[in-house]
Amino acid sequence: MSELGERAEALAEQVIQPLLVGGKLSPLRPFGARLALTLGEGRRIVDNDLRTRVDNARLRVARTIVAVDLVPELDVHEWALAAMFNDLLQATNHELSSWATRGRHDALAQAVAAACDRLPPCRDLAAAVARHATFSRALEVARVDTRVSWWTGSETFRGQEAPTRLLAWPGLRRVGVQRTTVTLAAMAPGSFVSAGAYVHALGRWISASPLSDLASAARSSPPFAWSSSTVSLVSVVAGANLALRAIRHHARDGRALRAASHALETAAAALAPGAQNVALAFVRQLQAGAEQWASSEDA
């Protein structure tokens, strides 16, 4: 297996698989836009067990919005999105740079945003469903920061376990351990990447999967913004239905639905008149649907 093949297999094992089935997500060395966009050409996951787990998890997600028995294997664009996601996570890695190379973080975030712009939109609804099946849980990725304090000082470990030597003799040294969960959108603060560049890159990355983008419209950061992909998706009946199902499945309660509806409506104000009409029609459809779902749940 070539070095690129090994990196792709590692990407599938350490990033894609945890993204779908949970567990420890360890990003690899950044890929860069050129490598990311060509990584998935003629590629499939070599490990049969891993591929089966990934495909089953994707199918499970796809079935939440559409009755399908098969989701196509990861295509070149999904491989690219996975590599970009890897780079985005690496942009928040404080170990990426030394004191003399802090600019790497912003450069990497900007590279991700630029690569997302070069990624073509979904060619059909099946591709949109496939991307959503792979990346719908991206915003659930979290980092656990550990702050260890003792009688003479304290130290914080971002996304790493504290060394055992600091945890020794907890009673004598009055060791205190505090763990904080940091969501994906909040990973920029405290790292060397600028918040603006990171949020911009994350927003561009999420918009590459329009169904995931719409499903998580109620998020606080990055704020939802209509893109050509999302507008074109909801402009067709089947795409709008898929989006409604994705939003409903993503929203835990009526409040989340209302928040999503509000976010969609607010973001529609920035659109051109024609696209705005499409977006607002979808918002009205979502509002009507939310009322109907609420009444059916009450019944």
Partner: protein, 493 residues
Amino acid sequence: MLDRIALHQTRLRTPGISLDAKGVALGAKGLVLLPSIDRLVGFLALYSSGAPLGDILASLSIDVVRSRLGNREVVVSFAAEGSDRMDRVAEVARLSGGYTFTGTKRHFVQYRDAAAPFGYDVREIAPTDAPLALNHSQFSQHYEYERKIDLGALLLRLEPRVAPSTADDPGGRWICAEAGLGPALIQYFVRSQVAADVGVAEWPPASEFEQGPLRRFLFRLDELPKRMTPLMRSTPGIHVFVPHGLNAAVEAGFEHPINLRACPVFPTDSLVLFRGNGMQPIRVDKLPVLGPVVSFARVSLHQNTPPAGARGAPLSAVSVPLRLAPDTDPWRDVAATRVTPRDLGLLRQIAYRLGTRTLQQTRIAFTQEGAYLVRDQGIESLPVGDFFRRLHPQIFVSAGYTAVPAVAPEVLFRALGAPSEQLVFLHQDGMSIGIREDAFVTLEDALVDALGWSGTTHERIVPMLSVELPVLTLESPGFRPLRDVQPVDEEGG
């Protein structure tokens, strides 16, 4: 106890029993249980009166069996072949007070009757070491084989009964005359211009007190003039016999209990003459050379020199092409069929109904003329295609037709060039197809397509709610982590 087999039932408990194409439970063998020798004779008489025993003779076995209680009964076993034969046997057995069973090795079960059109199956197999276990709806009995009964010996022991009408039956006659009467009888036939062949048969001396072998004159007549019949029958030392088949004859005025024409059990070169009035039959183990009686007529010699002999013409002068002519004889040895490409779909449908044994025993070869199927045990279970009967181990002729001129199969085989490892099929339309024997594969190998399958891995089913959250762990990306990342300006270019 037995269960009736239901329509479309597929599983049977009795070992060696399977369902044939009609859905009737059938084993490889049929078996008739008869209470005594008298009933056996009755059974054979009834059976042979309507159909030849030759069909089942090759596999026929008659045994005296003994149950654990000591009573002896007679068992007739034969190859079942099909439900048509078994149905006929069952009817005859019922008439003669016997029971019909079917099975393969040890366990036999009652053959179908009006109460169970598809036959019977045992509810529970009783463990036994006995070589024969019969399961009937009224009883279950285990038997040990005691001795065999040879059919030929049985026929010889049966005494012909009086039947005066047979004396006037038209047709040929055998006449057996004691040694002293032979020459006079020859002259009598020569003088009366009766066409007859004569030969002398010899037997070893009956005892040490006799000086020479026992001799009798045998006469074969195509027809015995009626005026001679009283003389022949009333003269002591002369017996007139009516032929029953090629190797047996019964004395005129008597009739054998069993139709001897239907029982070709005696060797080809032999002759058995059954005498009435309680006399032992005359057995001629090897038929003597027979010559026309006119050979014994008075001769006169010409004074002239003998004429010059004619020169022999080449054999091709009389050779004729082989043809197939319709044959009115019942079909026998139908062991092959040709399924045209148009009927292959029907064959595929029938294949689902065939039993394991049929699939294993049937061989098939695919040619441009269609699929040829051969089954040595008989092809009746495949009711599709044009049937062929086996004329020679390597020659098959369309069923219902016979090769003319009626040469021996071996001659025909030589005429075809004695092709080794080839099966030759002579079609009724004159087409002759030769197929190499190694082109035949068993039907079961040819039937099933290669089944596609794909490997997969098992997955532990995890409830959706218990799926873990992805947790980011940050580690050092190593030396020069951005060596694959080009600046944005370059990438944009």
